[in-house]
Amino acid sequence: MMGRISISQGVAIGLLAIVAVLVIIIPLLPLYDPYSQNLGGSLLPPGGSSFDGRFYLLGTDTLGRDMLSRLALAGQVSALIGLGAVTVSLVVGVTLGLIAGYFRGPVEVFIMGLADLQLSIPRVLLLIAVTAIIGPSVVNLAVILGLSSWVAYGRVARGMTLSLREREFILSARTQGASATWNIRQHLLPNVLPQMLIVGSYEFGMIIVLEASLSYLGLGVQPPLPSWGMMVSEGQNYLALAPQLAILPSIALFILVAGFQFLSQTLTKENDLEMVA
């Protein structure tokens, strides 16, 4: 089955390669500083040059800042927040899910009650309320986004644990005197983690969108640090005049989110095949 790349695998690899170029390669190039303003060259279209003869591949924003280097920096910020948040939510979710599924009883009732409660407050609203109160720094954002997103992992981990703990290889390990830690380490984690990484690759895209939404609403990443959502929001006022201001960061978001979406899709398929084979 290996060797040949399916269409969605190809798409995933292509899109993620573009993202990698944008957030890893571009910042290494000697480009313009994403913060330096050039009022003589504001709102330049892609490929335009300012009066002082400087060439801008993707044009400039209202303050004459280079769009390409701003997009790259914003991508780094988003990716960092996304990685942090996914790590936090994966660790919290897997831990709580395994505990709930393996030990059952009141612990499970409490954890799943917490999950239900959290699901009943829309994520965006919870994030708005919390960031409004504690303030939206990059670290805060990563932690809050992570803590508000553990439920997806927790539910899947619990579901898998519930079915795995009744599987006969775990029952048999119990009859051989295996402790809970043994079963969790030897059987549950290795079987649950691959699925968690699939959830994670999907959630990464979702987290990026959430962060972008918060930034779009002005409640996420704060200036002067750029973020794609904020750039779209700034561009909204110039939609008729310079649509590229809103469109370019939107395309960047699309590429990243679609890339992770396809990644999680191909991972899911492969995992299914593995289960069947």
Partner: protein, 678 residues
């Protein structure tokens, strides 16, 4: 007469005629996989053709093809299917629709999934009628549905008409499915493992209904099953399939009394018998080949006792040929088969001068006294129901012996295994392992001691962690105990007949039988005294089942193991056990030495169970001995004797007083019945 016959001159009484049918699947690499190859057979009016074979033999696919119901990726590549003179393989969908449900209908294995859960029973049957009788009025259709429901023995058909499938028991559901299949009185009824999902007493009821409705309409039937006993009892003619082809075809009695194909003979010799005990079972070596890697020549030759080393068998694939007007066989050396089978019978028979099994000379390793288990089933908000899953279970099991525990689903036998293994807590009673109390142990002491009591479960697929190498699977108990040794793993692999290299592979590469061997090796890793075998051979095909049973008996002899053998299959229990316990609704209703219980059963339930088991050769006499109706709701069991609602000999006393488990003249053979036969 059958296979090579010219397609033209069919006798007028032929219902279905299949010729040279081949079915392929599309492989992952694009190459076709030949699942059914060159299959030809006929079905005549009023007869029952049994198609037997193990999983993967292509028996179900063949009949799905008749209905044009092959799944995606499967296709008929050649051959013809003629039903009442109509060629079906080339028929347009719209024409096929007129044939399906009218001229031919089908009954699937699992009545739970065969019925649509969100549609009323009446509507599901009415649909079948309306599709082929669009002019019938609503009232006429309903009247016919109710007639059909009463025909298949469903009480209160008017009320049942508007109920949903989840309000029916498994046996009742299958009756509904039969009613649905018979709605338009088809010429041909296909029954694909119709009773495999049901308990044996319910199976007897359903088969009886099936025979009755068939007798009424005169429909021909194809009965597809893996159960040789079932076809022997219900089929007039048999076709045996192996690896996608028919290897032998013959009238029922002839096939079983005088099997000509070595595979058929091997299957018969590997089947434990309910009516007598044999010293050992023959086991067909190896396993059914993957259709992608079929051996050259005769596909059976690597497993064949007669043709294994013969160049002709590995070179030429024998065609199915006519040897008498009613028999066909696909074997180069079929003449040798009867002699071989006779020889096997002699080997397996218990010698007349065999010493009487020594009794009670060893110490008790497992003592169970007054074990109880009550589940609290969380119902709706404020109610909770009590389910008395185990009631007053007591037994002593001596070292080196096997206790067989039998009963149908819901009798508590698997709960008993879990409670004994302390995977679930008992609600009362005591268990002593090697004389020491086992139930009071906690923490480390429990972890140490439970190594003496190990288990092999039913499902060979979920019993091994798919991500672990076999070496690690078998080493796990030693690693938990801190006594890992690689040589011991190799030694254990050898004990269960697997090569040392097997350790480096993962479980998905192994077949069901091999996985069960691996599970056995793992359970033996820490030298346990007692092995609980919870339906350990139930998921396996007949030929593989015999291999594992023989292995278990060999290991018991070599290592002095003590077994608790839990199974719904009474023939297997008879073969392997020294003592037997029969359970019904959480209670032991009969127990004693195997020979006593099987040869002179005293409890009516035991007798009904034994009578319900279809046997090879000779129709069993089920008249009067069939357990009536369904298992009562275990949360609300009947008063007095819990079996009385289904008992053919129940008296008023049975409703008042629960009979105690006592012996009726034979010490050591006890039954819980007021009217037990001594």
């Amino acid at each position: 007469m059958i296979p090579q016959a010219m397609p033209a001159a069919e006798p007028a009484n032929t219902v279905l005629s299949v010729r040279n049918l081949s079915i392929d699947a599309r492989g992952a690499d694009g190459k076709p996989i030949h699942l059914v190859q060159d299959v030809s057979f006929d079905v005549f009016e009023h007869e029952v053709l049994g198609i037997v074979g193990e999983s993967g033999s292509g028996k179900s696919l063949t009949m799905l093809a008749v209905l044009g119901l092959l799944g995606p990726g499967l296709k008929i590549v050649s051959g013809s299917i003629v039903l009442r003179g109509q060629e079906l393989t080339s028929m347009a969908f719209a024409d096929l629709q007129k044939v399906r449900g009218k001229a031919v209908s089908i009954i699937f294995q699992d009545p739970l999934t065969t019925l649509n859960p969100v549609l009323r029973i009446g509507e599901q049957i009415a649909e079948a009628i309306r599709l082929h009788n669009p002019n019938k009025s609503k009232a006429e259709v309903k009247a016919r549905v109710i007639e059909l429901l009463s025909l298949v023995g469903i009480p209160n058909p008017e009320r049942r008409f508007s109920q949903f499938p989840n309000e029916f028991s498994g046996g009742m559901r299958q009756r509904v499915v039969i009613a649905m299949a018979m709605a338009n009185e088809p010429d041909l009824l296909i029954a694909d493992e119709p009773t495999t999902a049901l308990d044996v007493t319910i199976q007897a009821q359903v088969m009886q209904v099936l025979a009755e409705v068939r007798a009424r309409t005169g429909a021909a039937m194809v009965l597809i099953t893996h159960d040789l006993g079932l076809v022997s009892e219900y089929a007039d003619r048999l076709a045996v399939m192996y690896s996608g082809r028919i290897v032998e075809q013959a009238p029922g009695e002839e096939l079983f009394s005088d099997a000509k194909h070595p595979y058929t003979a091997g299957l018969i010799a590997s089947l434990p018998q309910i009516d007598h005990k044999v010293a050992s079972l023959y086991s067909i070596p190896g396993f059914v080949p993957d259709p992608r890697k079929r051996p050259s020549g005769c596909p059976f030759h690597p497993r064949c006792a007669i043709g294994r080393d013969r160049p002709e068998c590995s070179a030429t694939d024998p065609a199915l040929r006519e040897i008498t007007p009613v028999r066909d066989v696909a074997c180069h050396f079929y003449e040798e088969t009867p002699a071989w089978l006779g020889q096997q019978r002699q080997i397996s028979a218990i010698p007349a001068d065999a010493p009487e099994a020594t009794k009670d000379d060893t110490e008790v390793v497992l003592k169970v006294s007054h074990l109880e288990k009550v589940f609290n089933i969380g119902g709706a908000a404020f109610r909770s129901h009590k389910l008395h899953a185990l009631r007053d279970i007591s037994f002593d099991l001596r070292s080196g012996k096997t206790l067989g525990i039998v009963g149908e689903s819901g009798c508590g036998k698997s709960t008993l295994a879990r409670v004994l293994l302390r995977l679930a807590d008992a609600s009362g009673g005591d268990v002593f392992l090697n004389g020491a109390p086992f139930f009071q142990l906690k923490g480390n002491a429990l972890r140490q001691r439970r190594r003496d009591l190990q288990v092999v479960f039913q499902d060979p697929y979920s019993s091994l962690d798919p991500r672990m190498k076999i070496h690690d699977v078998i080493a796990e108990p030693m690693r938990i105990a801190g006594s890992y040794s690689a040589e011991r793993v190799t030694q254990l692999l050898a004990h269960v007949g697997l090569p040392p290299e097997a350790g480096q592979r993962r479980s998905p590469e192994f077949s069901g039988g091999q996985r069960q061997r691996i599970a056995i090796a793992r359970s033996l890793a820490l030298n346990p005294d007692v092995l609980i075998l919870d339906e350990a051979v139930s998921a396996l095909d007949v030929s593989i089942q015999a291999q594992v049973i023989n292995l278990l008996m060999k290991l018991q002899k070599e290592m002095g193991l003590t077994y608790v053998f839990i199974s719904h299959d009474l023939s297997v229990v008879r073969h392997i056990s020294d003592e037997v316990m029969v359970m019904y609704l959480g209670r032991v209703i009969e127990q004693g030495a195997t020979e006593d219980v099987f040869d002179c059963p005293s409890h009516p339930y035991t007798r009904a169970l034994l009578a319900a088991i279809p046997q090879i050769g000779g129709k069993s006499d089920t008249e009067g001995m069939i357990a009536k109706g369904d298992l009562p709701n275990p949360m609300n069991p009947p008063s007095g004797c819990t079996f009385r609602t289904r008992c053919p000999m129940a008296q008023p006393l049975c409703a008042e007083k629960e009979p105690p488990l006592v012996d009726h003249g034979h010490p050591g053979h006890e039954a819980a019945c007021h009217f037990a036969q001594a």
